[in-house]
Symmetry: C2
Subunit: 222 residues, 2 copies
């Protein structure tokens, strides 16, 4: 499948490389497609990746992945043609995180009675937004086996077929347990996890961890 990956940060790089490794056609969208560091990364990635503007990547991808910084996600999508967004699944991986007061005092720019996932869905109703992969580190996203045993990924979205498609993709990444939390308003809960995730990161000193929901009646899996 053809993917448009918005963003050349650590998350965009990890996802674009993983998708290419799995045989997908990937264009990475960036603010300045001519910038040296993005071109150097593409050249050194060992993957067959294309680089373009955000609008180019939106036009290229059959499925889009939003992994720019959360505070810029809306502006990035506004720079794309509505025609290139219409009907497409957009996986929203970003969190509306404000770290201006330091890692120890993270805040969210949208939270509680709203979320970034909902905001994107509301402002771009032609997209089929699925919130996913925003609750773990980028290395775990594309290689869940870095965290041993059973652990969960949360997804949310209004479109059942879009969620099913995203689940298939996640399974191809190695995810064995994907918990569908319902409509896109559930992104309030998963984006809100950032506040505890950063505390756990501080406690453990590395990002190789993830959540598992343990419950009665659950069968042990090897």
């Amino acid at each position: 499948m053809k993917f448009g990956v918005m963003g050349t940060g650590a998350v965009g790089k990890a996802l674009a490389s993983k998708l290419a490794t799995l045989g997908h056609d990937v264009m990475v969208g960036t603010r300045e497609p001519d910038n040296e560091s993005a071109r150097a990364w593409i050249a050194s990635s060992g993957c067959d990746l294309r680089l373009g503007s955000f609008a180019d990547a939106a036009a290229f991808g059959q499925t889009l992945i939003s992994c720019t910084a959360g505070i810029t996600s809306i502006d990035v999508l506004r720079s794309c043609s509505n025609r290139d967004l219409a009907g497409k699944v957009l996986i929203d991986v970003s969190n509306p995180l404000d770290l201006s007061r330091g890692l120890h005092s993270p805040t969210l720019t949208i939270c509680n009675d709203d979320s970034l996932g909902e905001t994107i869905q509301r402002q771009f109703p032609e997209l089929r937004v699925v919130k996913a992969l925003n609750t773990c580190n980028n290395q775990v996203m594309v290689d869940p086996g870095r965290v041993p045993g059973d652990h969960d990924l949360f997804i949310a979205g209004n479109d059942a077929a879009a969620k099913e498609q995203v689940c298939d993709l996640l399974r191809s990444f190695g995810w064995r347990s994907v918990l569908d939390l319902g409509d896109i308003t559930a992104a309030r809960g998963t984006e809100g996890l950032m506040l505890i995730w950063l505390r756990l990161l501080a406690r453990y000193g590395n990002a190789d961890f993830n959540y598992k929901i343990v419950r009665a009646g659950q069968e042990a899996r090897s």
Copy 2:
């Protein structure tokens, strides 16, 4: 030890009964100590519990537990004498939850750059506040074995000795894994879990679940 348990809701009842069962002396604080339903519950509880005003319970307890509705916690503590709070450990179990828009649209009255735990600590600096037990159902709180296998409880607070004392109490409840997330500002993360907890409740249809942080290097425990 003598405990003052603030609140006669499901959480207060569960904690007061558990403490009495473990041999502690417990006074349950309520707004109207003469109200029939609280007296009837005490009589039918099978536990040796005292009932009093919030101020009575604060005076009685060597350790206090706040489990009134989060939106009233501050007013309840204001109704107590500062002299009866000074130097005491207060375990803050409540969440600043507003369900006025329904279970599906929960919001927090304090969140993101503040929390109820911090607000209590700030407004009552004479207390040694430990945020704990606010991330699971009241039945799981006092009987963690309802959820099989390993799972975690999160605590936060500024006073290391107070947290150690609370950890000992939690171990006596049956908790095997208590994760200290640091100072009381970490309550932003644990109170924020309410937003995903209610979605998980909706998904599973019961509250017998809890979080486990899975990570590399962790040893399997039976």
